[in-house]
Amino acid sequence: MKQWAASLMAAGLLSAGLAGCGSAPTSVASSPPLVEAISQNPDNLTPALGALAVDNIPTSFMDMGLMYLTYKDTWAPGVATSWSVSNNGLDYTFNLNPNAKWSDGTPLTSADVVYTWHYMTNPKIQITYDTGWSFVKNVVAEGPHKVVFQLTQPYAPFYSTVGSGTIIPKHIFDKWTPNQINHGIYDKGTPVDDGPYILSKWVTDEQLTFAPNPHWFGPPVHIQKIIVQVVPNTDTQFNMLATGKLTMGGIPSADISEINTLHGYNIVNTLSPTYNLIQLDEDNFLKDVAVRRALDWATPKQQIVTDIMHGMAVVAHGDQVPGGYFYDPNVPHRSFNLQRAAQILAQDGFTKGTGGWLYKNGQELTVPIWTGATSHSETNIAEVVSQDWEKIGVYAPVHTAGWSIVFGNGTPQNPGPQVNGKDEAIIFSWGQGVFPDDTIDFNSKYVPASPLQPSPQENSERYINQQMDSLQLQGVTLSSRPARRQVYDQIQLLEQKTLPLIFLFWYKSDTAVSSHLKGYVQTTFGNSPVWDWSLN
């Protein structure tokens, strides 16, 4: 989960204005290399086939989509210089930069964009991320530098899924079979791509080295060499920062107290677009919104932020990232109040019984709390929440297990907590990014068909609310951004009222950035573009 969250931070590496993607040549001043660390060896750099979050870091140097999201949460031109959407929201037209080229010098044209559609929808290729492509009915090239995406229905998230996605070099991939593509033929040698850098060397499990792309059509880059070192242990990464070997690197929460031992670095503190939550599986008592509200009142979010997260988080009241375009700061929230929680449950018909636990209709109110055994902070959170829930009479034993057990199906005799048909609470992190669409989380069509369905859908809490369904449909089909914001304001209000889950906090992250690195800006939405960076 955290890996995925990390990807969201990395995904925005290429942000900010590529205005007027002209024909400026790549001028490279002599400079020391930029060195950063990643925790795993990228498994696959073949477009859309990678399974790991760390894949996003090398691809962010190598790739450029039609457009990209800036660190200011706005869209900027990439391969396309301009774009438009038809009034009915069904046709998206992109005008391509006539100077755009692949790293081998071949012109990048609309034929590549059309080929990308064929690639992303080819069932023989082991695509992992294909979100949004199912809405694309056809892609039409209108000349070499203009392309039109025709959709089956209006789809507002088009820019963040398809529009900003990778483009595939037709002249390279066309000559390979799906089997060759699946088995990593693209990763051998120097992969042809369209971003500001090319992968010049990849020593497996050790480092990836990038050099400027000689055919890059965007603003010139200033750093001659980028080295991405594979360092799996976060303490080792911190020690590398301490010896000045890294230009930048994240500070593990365990090492926050050691931050003053780092010299020559500026510490950048940003809010991460990842929140921590308690998923309430609505199978019995948890179907009752009053019970969910009571548990929300009985959850000490501020204490968790202060004592367990050591201030490296802010209390969450919804799933839209604070500071983002779709965030509504006026949504009311519940502060920790055990008395209020107990009162709600009493009004709902619960009475104290055997062992001091609450009962209704002879049934004990039991909500076991599950979390990942490997996550130290989440285990602590589970313990703290359990203590407070038990103070109001809710029996809440804590269980820890591997994530694959927590989210998995288990066996028919011993099904996993998500699919066992009982009230359960699960604590984990979730990052849908800065984009507002939360359909898969709370829409009733993503509820598993039955408690023991082999493959749980994303709405595993089984939250069903027709108003939510209707608002989410509007949210993904309205093309006007202000109109969408109004819809998401209503969604956040509905989340607060009906509690599909308990939002705990948004993570904050500390990144050490060398004082020699200029032009590097980091926000919740990403980083300044790599061509703005320079090292002295």
């Binding site: 088995h183 990593g184 070192q229 057990i405």
Partner: protein, 317 residues
């Protein structure tokens, strides 16, 4: 001896098959599966997971997949990683030499220091050196390698700046033998320390036991030099039990490399195995387990062969 060695190798083949069958079965008993990492990823839809399961053959029963894997292995095909799509043999080929370098250096250091230190400790029983070395051996033996690794990094890399924190070569200079040696020092110490401590203790006990034997007393009575008595007469006999331990410890170096490689960012098999375990990448897991099992068998075989060299009474027929 050659005939004996061949016979042992042939006997090991069905054992290895059995190991693969059992490990494949146990792997498939573990909750989750190769695609469980996608279950809570909002970018990967359920239908896409179903397509991937079919493409990777994960919708078939485990025993069918096992026999397909085995059949391919018998034809020299180790399969493909579920995640990178690359041939497993290629993934291993990239990393196995690095692990062998690390294992080999740790083995040599353990052997090269452990045996002489054990002998010296035994011949200077109850001396200050003996007490100090005994204390340090137990301390090192008890030290968890992940903690020891970070401690060494902190002292020698961060505070003193003498050695690099991690990696196999410097990111700033072209690869060279000297750079490799500099990067090898800390992981070798971590990987080899436990064995060094253990082997030296066994060596000390072995020598102490042997030097009380009658033939040693006779050698002393004949006026032989202490050095000659120890190296020529006592050492060979004292080594016999150690050889067994060393043989058994060989796969331990492979297993220990998992943690050492993780801490020191050493690009070897240990990290490949660990990530394969986390990702439930069955073909890669199977290859790593097969290599580990083969090392165990090889270690035992080498130990048995070494007996014959050390003790002429042992016959292989």
């Amino acid at each position: 001896m050659t005939k004996y060695a061949l016979q042992r190798v042939i006997e090991a083949i069905p054992l290895l098959f059995l190991v693969t069958l059992v490990t494949y079965f146990i792997m498939n008993l573990a909750p989750g599966g190769p695609l469980s990492m996608y279950l809570h990823n909002p970018h990967v839809t359920q239908s896409q997971i179903a397509v991937l399961a079919k493409q990777l053959g994960l919708n078939e029963p485990w025993y069918i997949r096992y026999f397909k894997w085995l059949w391919a292995l018998l034809h020299g095909n180790w399969g493909y990683s579920y995640f990178s799509g690359q041939p497993v043999i290629q993934l291993i080929g990239q990393r196995l030499p690095n692990t062998l370098i690390l294992m080999g250096s740790a083995f040599l250091v353990s052997l090269g220091l452990g045996i002489p230190l054990g002998i010296y400790s035994a011949t200077h029983q109850y001396s200050t050196f003996d007490y100090t070395f005994s204390f340090l051996s137990f301390f090192a033996w008890a030290m968890p390698s992940f903690f020891f690794g970070l401690l060494l990094q902190m002292i020698f890399a961060v505070k003193l700046g003498w050695l690099p924190v991690a990696g196999m070569y410097s990111e700033f200079y072209p690869p060279s033998f000297l750079e490799l040696l500099r990067h090898l020092v800390l992981p070798t110490m971590v990987l080899g320390l436990g064995s060094l401590a253990g082997w030296s203790r066994f060596m000390r006990s072995g020598i102490l036991e042997v030097i009380r034997q009658d033939y040693i007393r006779t050698a002393k009575a004949k006026g032989l030099k202490q050095r000659t008595i120890i190296l020529k007469h006592a050492l060979k006999n004292a080594l016999l039990p150690i050889v067994t331990i060393i043989g058994m410890d060989l796969p331990g170096f492979f297993g220990g490399a998992v943690i050492t490689e993780e801490i020191f960012a050493w690009p070897g098999m240990g990290r490949l195995f660990l990530s394969a375990l986390n990702d439930r990448d069955y073909p890669v897991q199977m290859a790593a387990l097969l290599i580990s099992a083969a090392l165990l068998i090889l270690g035992n075989l080498l130990a048995d062969l070494a007996y014959g060299l050390l003790d002429p009474r042992i016959q292989y027929n």
